[in-house]
């Protein structure tokens, strides 16, 4: 904690008071933002957990289909079929499954099934990747907000409060002194008038 270097005047007192109420308002808003983001993070995390389950399930189906294809066509059969598949150039291209594509390079239903299942798995994986990125980004935003809330709570607001107290105390002190010297003046004036009489 540290107080700001300000002269203890009434003008500064008013200024500090309005600054402090502004800082407190900002703190309140940031705190609300933090809570809203946290709520959103919980929802996004739940969504990512669902996406993870879906990936696990889709992949289990895909690997099972691959095993069937391997039994039916052998490693060489599956591998040579795989060689004929065009490498998809873009992730977005995975989104649409072009019907009939797999019929063109294989005569095995097992292979067709494996191809379709791995395409499904890829779609689920893309969804999971998206969900996880969203979660991590949001979590980072929350972290930044928490840091700012803490800075306000632990540094800015206490500093302002201390400064406010200093200015208030100094003003009161000088009021007392003014009163005291007024009293002295009054007393000496009274004495003077008594001795004159």
């Amino acid at each position: 904690m540290a107080r700001y270097e300000v002269a203890p005047t009434r003008t500064n007192l008013l200024g500090i008071k309005s600054d402090l109420s502004l800082v407190r308002e900002g703190h309140e808003l940031l705190e609300q933002k933090r809570q809203i983001l946290l709520l959103e993070l919980k929802q996004l995390t739940a969504r990512a957990a669902d996406a993870q389950k879906e990936v696990d399930a889709e992949l289990a189906r895909a690997y099972a289909a691959l095993r069937e294809a391997l039994i039916a066509n052998g490693v060489t059969g599956v591998s040579s079929a795989a060689e004929t598949v065009n490498v998809e150039p873009k992730i977005t291209a995975i989104e649409r499954r072009v019907m009939g594509v797999y019929g063109t390079f294989t005569t095995s239903v097992w292979l067709d099934e494996a191809v379709a299942r791995f395409q499904d798995a890829l779609r689920a994986i893309a969804g999971l990747a998206e969900a996880r990125i969203a979660v991590v980004r949001l979590a980072r935003a929350i972290q930044r907000t928490i840091r700012r809330v803490n800075a306000l709570e632990k540094i800015l607001i206490p500093d302002y409060e201390e400064t406010l107290k200093y200015v208030q105390d100094s003003l009161e002190e000088s009021d007392r002194q003014a009163l005291f010297s007024l009293k002295l003046v009054k007393e000496s004036l009274e004495k003077a008038s008594q001795s004159v009489r």
């Binding site: 691959l66 598949v85 490498v87 791995f118 994986i125 979590a139």
Partner: protein, 101 residues
């Protein structure tokens, strides 16, 4: 942006059927090299690494998983299914930002 897969032969073969390139790795050294090479490629957007392979290069993998960099990485189960004791999404968030939900 392309997918790229690093894993055992079944994972690589399976994803190849769906048009995804990949490389089969059988050792930690191969895995580390494969990850570095995949990361260096400009056309790859998402690198899939099977869990056991990812576990063998955990530090390097996590640095990318929780980092800001591109391409992204994701660990996926291999043909034997999800490994036990893997991180949940909640754990991953906690790791990434050091925060409890």
């Amino acid at each position: 942006m392309k997918f790229f897969v690093i894993g055992d032969w079944q994972a690589v073969l399976g994803f190849r059927l769906a048009g995804v390139e990949g490389v089969v790795v059988t050792s930690e050294a191969e895995a580390a090299t494969a990850l570095r090479e995949a990361v260096a490629r400009k056309d790859v957007g998402l690198i899939l690494v099977t869990e056991k392979v990812a576990n063998s290069i955990r530090d390097e993998f996590d640095a990318r998983l929780y980092g800001h960099g591109f391409p992204l990485v994701l660990d996926i189960p291999d043909a034997s299914g999800p490994v036990s004791g893997r991180l949940t999404v909640e754990d991953a968030v906690r790791r990434a930002v050091g925060m409890n939900l």
